[in-house]
């Protein structure tokens, strides 16, 4: 422990190599940045490919997203590397920035690929979402009606907008944050509050928590 009470972590050799390169100057620094960018570009391409199907982004856009994500991940790492404490491998820490940048970039491209209306409400799919077994649809109709009424009447406009987009229409949170001029964290808080309200509404209507289908508390 340091005098300030911080935990001292022994840096592994490979992480130390990365840090030495990033802290160096001249050609050594440039070589390290080039190696980091090449590595992160490979990671970004893989991640973009992994997510492409669910976001329906394809073709040259995928390579654009990977390039942008790796460029911005390198920038973020350069600005934050002083804060890296060696509490994981450097590469694990660095890949984290790629994931975040890929999420952000794919969120931006989501709206180009499909112009989903934020107020679209997939009510028709709601029973399938909650009750995948068709034979249970009828017996769970009461719960479905309660939930739908709670969404319509108890959520604020923003809560309803966020809940319907994320939970029913599968809009990525980063895409929604961009559309709303907000952040992922803020959108999540709205979503969390909406879920709490809906659960409370179901509970006050007689359904236990966690909700047990077919048996009121």
């Amino acid at each position: 422990m340091t005098d300030a009470g911080e935990r001292v972590v022994q840096m592994d050799a490979t992480s130390q190599l990365w840090l030495d390169g990033l802290r160096s100057s001249g050609s050594e620094h440039e070589k390290c940045i080039a190696a980091l960018h090449a590595l992160l570009l490979r990671v970004a391409r893989h991640e973009v490919s992994r997510r492409a199907g669910s976001l329906r982004v394809r073709g040259p856009e995928l390579e654009d997203i990977a390039q942008q994500a790796s460029d911005d991940a390198v920038l973020a790492i350069r600005s934050k590397v002083a804060g890296f404490r060696g509490d994981s491998r450097f590469t694990t820490w660095a890949y984290k920035f790629v994931m975040f940048e890929v999420s952000t970039k794919m969120g931006r491209h989501f709206w180009r690929a499909q112009r989903a209306n934020l107020d679209d409400e997939a009510w028709g799919r709601l029973p399938d979402t909650i009750f995948p077994a068709p034979e249970k649809h009828a017996e769970q109709r009461e719960l479905f009606a309660l939930l739908r009424r709670a969404i319509e009447e108890e959520l604020t406009h923003l809560q309803r907008q966020v809940f319907v987009a994320v939970a029913l229409n599968d809009v990525p949170m980063d895409a929604l944050a961009r559309e709303l001029g907000s952040t992922r964290n803020s959108v999540y808080k709205v979503l969390f509050d909406a879920r709490c309200k809906l659960r409370e509404s179901l509970r006050s209507a007689g359904y236990g928590r966690p909700v047990t289908l077919g048996s009121k508390a």
């Binding site: 190599l17 992994r50 890949y95 999420s103 939970a167 949170m173 992922r184 236990g208 909700v211």
Partner: protein, 79 residues
């Protein structure tokens, strides 16, 4: 209690949810602990709850887990 997993998926609300900003700060440690065979959900229940409840952070977590497994710990001199 026989809970319905799909309604749980629609309305997850963990009482110890860490939130997106905190999760981003410690996600790399969580992933390494998991890949080392540890049980990060026990030591970091707030992060575990968040990764279950937040689709965006959950996606980043899955991606990071896969990236570390696939690309490993590359050295700057290996390029």
């Amino acid at each position: 209690m026989n809970t319905d997993p799909d309604l749980e998926a629609l309305l997850p609300t963990g009482s110890v949810d860490a939130g997106c900003a905190v999760s981003f700060e410690v996600l790399h440690r969580y992933v390494e602990q998991e890949l080392a065979g540890g049980h990060p959900a026990r030591s970091q229940p707030g992060l575990a709850a968040h990764l279950h409840s937040c689709p965006a952070c959950g996606e980043d977590y899955q991606g990071l887990l896969g990236a570390v497994e696939l690309f490993g710990d590359a050295s700057p001199t290996a390029h």
